[in-house]
């Protein structure tokens, strides 16, 4: 056990754990971590004391051959018992004070003048990301600027008559999780200090593909973030030749359906549905399908061929597209940068 605890610290420092809570990369996560570490050491001290005492007792008072006398019958000791009631109480009170301070501190809303507002809508099993002021909509990959608090507004929605379920939004290196409860609007603040990609995932069991509801928080310098935002706000390009152009046509209508029934593309007339992810700048993303698949032609082919084989329970149907149709759609989707 002791060994395990030592190893805990050891691994925390050496192994690469991109979703570790032990390596905070922002002020929110750091404040939470600063609270945990002293408590962890106090707990370790108590652990060593109690387990050490057990070992001492087991060795010191073990039965020895030839000893038949019955030990002195001690029924209790009021003073001792009072002592080991009061000492833990004092220790716990010492932990309680900074805890409650931090609870209230972290529940404060960041200043509206400096913060960035982002709306997250949790679906089964992906995240819709909306920058309300900038009128930008994307999915699963949340781009944020460094050095600026991001104030998330979290909602859970499903389509039509499907009852929305509870999810939990979580990027460990930036801070603790916040449940996304249907029917309620809740908020969470994260802030990243350094540019980089921070991994996260849904942390509340939400059905068959719960494990496949991942997300990425991509922090940029403020300048890079503005550039990203500008690109995202632009209308999608319309291909005018080749395979991508064929894909563009199929996107609007293929035998048996239309992608536009569920997916929006800013710049394509009639593509405004918000049932599935917005695909306006799909080609510029790193991943898709709840941030579980790398955005490569092979993965995209696999997905279009049979979504549920990549992600059980996926709401996107298998349309029985031909290989030729899939190739064209892949070319078009990847052109949406």
């Amino acid at each position: 056990m002791l060994l395990a605890l030592v190893l805990l610290l050891f691994t925390a420092c050496t192994e690469s754990a991109p979703q570790s809570t032990l390596e905070p990369e922002g002020p929110v996560a750091r404040q939470q971590d600063d609270l945990f570490r002293p408590v962890f050491w106090i707990a370790t001290a108590v652990f060593v004391f109690v387990e050490g005492l057990i070992l001492l007792i087991v060795v010191k008072f073990r039965h020895r051959e030839g000893r038949d006398a019955i030990p002195t019958q001690v029924h209790g000791n009021k003073r001792l018992e009072l002592l080991w009631t009061i000492i833990p109480t004092v220790i716990l009170a010492g932990i309680a004070v900074p805890t409650i301070g931090a609870i209230f501190n972290l529940s404060r809303e960041p200043d509206p003048a400096t913060r960035l507002d982002v709306t997250i809508i949790a679906h089964q099993w992906w995240w819709e990301v909306e920058y309300p002021e900038e009128r930008v909509i994307t999915a699963n990959e949340i781009h944020i600027p460094t050095g600026r608090p991001v104030y998330f507004r979290l909602e859970s929605r499903n389509q039509g008559a499907e009852i929305p379920v509870i999810h939990s939004f979580w990027v460990p290196k930036l801070g603790g999780k916040q449940d996304v409860v249907p029917g309620r609007i809740v908020h969470l603040t994260y802030e990243a200090e350094q540019p980089g990609t921070y991994l996260g995932q849904c942390a509340e069991f939400c059905g068959i593909s719960h494990a496949y509801m991942r997300l990425r928080m991509i922090a940029h310098t403020p300048e890079d973030f503005e550039a990203w935002l500008e690109n995202e706000g632009s209308r999608a390009a319309t291909p005018d030749s080749g395979l991508a152009q064929r894909g563009f046509e199929l996107f609007q209508s293929f035998p048996g359906g239309s992608c536009m029934a569920c997916h929006a593309i800013n710049g394509l007339d009639g593509a405004a549905a918000r049932i599935g992810p917005d695909l306006t700048h799909f080609g510029s993303r790193e991943t898709f399908a709840g941030a579980i698949a790398d955005l490569t032609p092979e993965e995209l082919r696999r997905w279009l061929d049979d979504p549920a084989s990549v992600k059980p329970g996926a709401k996107m149907p298998d349309y029985g597209l031909s290989d030729e149709e899939i190739e064209a759609l892949v070319a078009y989707l990847l052109s949406l940068e």
Binding site: A17, L35, P71, E81, L199, A203, I208
Partner: protein
Amino acid sequence: MATEVLPQRRGWTLHRPTATTGVWSWITTVDHKRIGILYGVTAFVMFLAGGVEALLLRVQLATPENNFISAETYNQLFTMHGTTMIFLVIMPLSAAFFNYFLPLQIGARDVAFPRLNAFSYWVFLAGGIFMYTSFFLGGAPNGGWFGYAPLNTEGGVLDVVRTHNMDFWVLGLIILGIASTVSAVNLLVTIINMRAPGMTFMRMPVFTWMTFVVQFLLVFALPIITVALFELLFDRLFGTNFFNVLNGGDPVLWQHLFWLFGHPEVYILILPAMGIVSEILPVFSRKPLFGYAVVVFSGIAIGFMGWGVWAHHMFAVGLGPVANSAFALSTMFIAVPTGVKIFNWLATMWGGDLRFKTPMLFAIGFVAMFTIGGLSGVTHAIVPHDTQQTDTYYIVAHFHYVLFGGAIFGLFGGAYFWWPKITGKLLNERIGKANFWLMFLGFNLTFAPFHILGLEGMARRTHTYPEGMGWDFWNMVSTVGAFLIAVSVAVFMWNVMRTRTKGEVAGDDPWDGRSLEWSISSPPPAHNFDEIPEVHEVDDFWHKKYAEDEHGRLAPAVAGGAGYGPSEAHAGGHGDGEHGGHEAIHMPSPSYYPAFTAIGFPLLAWGLIFSPALIVIGAAILLGGLYGWALEPSAE
């Protein structure tokens, strides 16, 4: 077998069964000891089922992006693992010990309502069987043992596709709740009314005390979950909207109701094991329990405070800083009475003459492992950081240290401790020690890595995880540990089988025990006590054997002083209890009706899912059973 049972036809319904051996004698028994054995055997079979489920989960998680089982199967297995271990293993294993030893420890001949006691067992068995039939009837429950709504209204009548997985879960838990409630009322009445003369509350053994506290928790906690379960059932079956936000329902309502039951439930699971440990440590330290009154009152304090901590399961829901602070405080301070118990146990051993028999190893293992679970529990109360911990493997580590390192270790200790009383034979010590050390090692290998995995961000209830997260190594270690636990359980079963044929005969009092059950023969006669003992102090039986001077020094009591009343003559060699003129002791007659009536519940439940015809049959059996029960003669 059945032929000797069948009565002369004289109005079958109003006849009481007479079989004393064979299958029918077990089905119709109302003897608390036999019912205890039935509970124990059933719960152990369920322990194996829950264990196999756990092994399948661990194989799936041994490597990243594994495809050993599908996401759907994984969800069914983790749901059934949790539900099984809590409702079909730890609760009934505790009930096995309550049933067998509670009457013995308070010097009673049976529980207050023997037929009701049998009924509790049969309803429990019916509920367990009902829930497990789901595997063959469309798929097992797949929404988690915590059954969060509105996820678990999926597949209800409002959904596009109707599925029955969670119908089985809801209805199964309702049936199991009936069994537990009935049993709790029965044991409460037994403890309050049937203590032997002189057995005041503050002379009761600590196991009896913890049993008493647990029955109160059950009586008050089960109605809460039952209300929640019926709401969920109505949402699923009739399209009500308790939890459907689209029509104004509230998902957080489920969480409050569930955890207001769920946290007392944790103490329902752990307090019996604490009671068992409080019996074992004094016996093998050859010292009385240190601070009896403090241990009892801290148990009661835990029972009370357990009602005020439920929202610590909900720190990420967004209840607001005031509620979170209040529940952080209550969660921290419930650690105080728990810590007091640990120090009292240590002080019990301090200065003792420790004999490391297998029960003692499990009891010390309990104290050592439960301490770890308690300490990680305190870190959950750090609300801001709990939002990092909750729903990760760190939590899974915590509650396995409490419920496996705690409850299961305590229950295994109890099994080794009381086995000679129940069967008359001692389990083998060497195999027992192998059992303990394998389990201890396997347990830590399985669950200690979960602390690391959780803090490194591995979320619970995920059927797989990607490569490159830094989780591969510890997941593999954990899977290896899980199989070591399986080996230790196999060693236990081997020990049991071996003891049946080659076990050493135990005698009445193999451990030099302290409480009344050790004053009677092993196994005890049907009527328990030839003469109801009169109790003068805590550990009365011990003080019959040893006199204590004012300095706490002991000497064996005057020869022949052991035992209670006229049974000395019987101990002197005049045959066994069956022929000692005890026919005059009136014991309750067996009955068909508890088992018969219990059959009605699963039929009703299957009926609600599949066919109204079954509802009619189930209701008829239930009603007929109750009438037969009421009208049967009091004795044959």
